[in-house]
Amino acid sequence: MLADTRIDGVAKAEAITPTKGRSLWRDAGYRFVRNRAALVSLFVLLGVVVFTIVGPFFARWSIEKIDWSVVGNVLSKGYPSVETGHFFGTDEVGRDLYSRVIQGTQVSLMVGIIGAGIAVIVGTIYGAVAGYFGGRIDSLMMRFVDILYSIPYMFILILLLIIFGRSFVMLFVGVGLISWLGMARVVRGQTLTLKNREFVEAAIATGAKPLTVIFRHIVPNLLGIVVVYATLLVPEMILLESFISFLGLGVQEPNTSLGALISEGSRTMQYGTIWQLIFPLVFFVTILFTFFFVGDGLRDALDPKDR
């Protein structure tokens, strides 16, 4: 009888602390969903994206068509109104702000995502290679990154834009050139720790070639940190593009971006046409805010430090 109670008790004691086997990603998904700010931000962000896709179908004016009826009277006639079809009002020369804000948002999102994309591809490969091989190759490769890092980039970028002319391509090249450096550093650090893990050593012991080890075993395990970093990089790239557009060196008229619109709006606000600043600003701030929160939520969900 005594023995029975005992065995029973042991079983009970073990049942109290169950160790659940959940995958990393499902676990992370669960944590992310519980983070209300991140979840709401994600939905708002998706809303903005859907708006940039669906919005143009409702536009009654193109981005470059000038509404001659408001020219010269932008303050009294170009305000936001459903009747005139200028849902967000018009800009200083009478072009429809609704269409322009949509295009600006598209451009900004694209710059952000492409910039982050370049960072993911170039930075991950560069960092993983440097971290994996270590030693002299590593210090040489990272020294190069250090050097590039300590150059005031914006000036080189402005130089590029002036010399080779302003274009989408140049802008993406410039943004991409800068974006991968931080990613390379993060990935390299992570690779250094992964390199000494048992499963990587096991792969090496079975005779896998270095590149196989990097792409099969290391890169997939970097995915978490890369996703987080990339999400946080997108708003930075958007900021960068906006900065360049603010200087008037970004995309060329009649195309526009949020930075360019904010720049125009801030120059004309003293005449009272405050909507020219507010609408692009709201979209700009919303995108940045939501990306930061989503990135933060992802970091909390995936950060191994927390587990």
Binding site: P152, Y153, F155, I156, I158, F243, L247
Partner: protein, 307 residues
């Protein structure tokens, strides 16, 4: 200590040379020549001009002479645009302005940012903490080129307290808005970094030891926690410096303060290549110097780094 500085210089000096060479080569790749705008200039005159600027020599010789002049004589050569001024003149005019508001912004961002971060960490979950966290999140999405128009909107257009532009010989009323616009986002970032690193330090074992010794909280925070907690802040000061140098372009442009950023953008628009090159090299050198100082400061705070 000296060895440490020498080792860092061994990296900094090649970096600077690379910067000069790359910028110079970019300049040479620019289409056309700086004097193409002048119509019907006789070839003889053009040759004359070329000879005057040393453009008739082979490019490698031009590069060597440029590097020699910059490094040993601190001479950036003549401006291609203003015949009667040298690049040194242009820099000498703009630099003091940029330095004035830049230094204020840097010091304010560091002092207020660190103080706010400490208060937020020590009084975690108090209103001060929520305020600091709120400001931080807000400032992340309000870059200087958005901050500047907003400040002008409130303090110049609505309240009419401060002038919305001009330098006025550095009168305090003209300095305030540029300084706030330039420093806000960095102040917020410094506060965020200080807060999280302070929180981490405060929960560390050695702070528990200090408390167990019966030291008053003030002593625990300022003598035991602050120094280790400042390490991440110090390493962020390098990027702050770069950001502020870049941001000065926005400040100069928006507030017409006449600093070096304005000179840069003007020469960019005028295709005054020698001035662009000169400013890029100068700011690059300053950035590299700033990073060097940050490195030394870091090593000085962290006894684990052997000097």
């Amino acid at each position: 200590m000296i060895q440490f500085i020498l080792r860092r210089l061994a990296v900094a000096i090649p970096t600077l040379l690379v910067l000069i060479v790359v910028s110079f080569m970019l300049m040479k790749m620019a289409p056309g020549n700086p004097f193409a705008g002048e119509k019907n200039v006789p070839q003889a005159v053009l040759d004359n001009i070329f000879a005057r600027y040393g453009l008739d020599k082979p490019e490698w010789q031009q590069l060597l002479e440029y590097v020699y002049n910059v490094v040993f004589r601190f001479d950036f050569g003549p401006s291609f645009q203003y015949r009667d001024r040298t690049v040194n003149d242009i820099i000498a005019q703009g630099f003091p302005v940029t330095f004035t508001y830049g230094a204020w912004a840097f010091v304010l961002a560091a002092l207020i940012g660190v103080s706010l971060g400490i208060v937020a960490a020590v009084r975690q979950n108090s209103w001060a903490d929520y305020f600091a966290v709120g400001v931080t999140i807000g400032a992340q999405v309000v870059p200087n080129f958005v901050m500047a128009p907003l400040l002008v909107l409130v303090f110049t257009l609505w309240l009419r307290w401060l002038p919305g532009g001009g330098w006025n010989g550095g009168h305090w009323s003209n300095v305030i808005l540029p300084v706030i616009a330039l420093s806000t986002s960095y102040m917020a970032n410094i506060a965020r970094i200080t807060r999280s690193s302070m929180l981490e330090v405060l929960s560390s074992n050695y702070i528990r030891t200090a408390r167990a010794k019966g030291l008053p909280s003030r002593q625990v925070i300022f003598e035991h926690a602050l120094r280790p907690a400042l390490l991440p802040v110090v390493s962020y000061l390098g990027p702050v410096f770069v950001g502020m140098v870049t941001g000065s372009v926005v400040i100069d442009l928006y507030f017409s303060t006449g600093g070096i950023g304005q000179a840069f953008v003007n020469s960019a628009l005028n295709r005054d290549y020698s001035t662009i090159l000169g400013i890029t090299v100068l700011l690059g050198a300053l950035t590299i110097a700033a990073n060097l100082i940050v490195d030394i400061l870091y090593a000085w705070i962290d006894p684990k780094i052997q000097l």
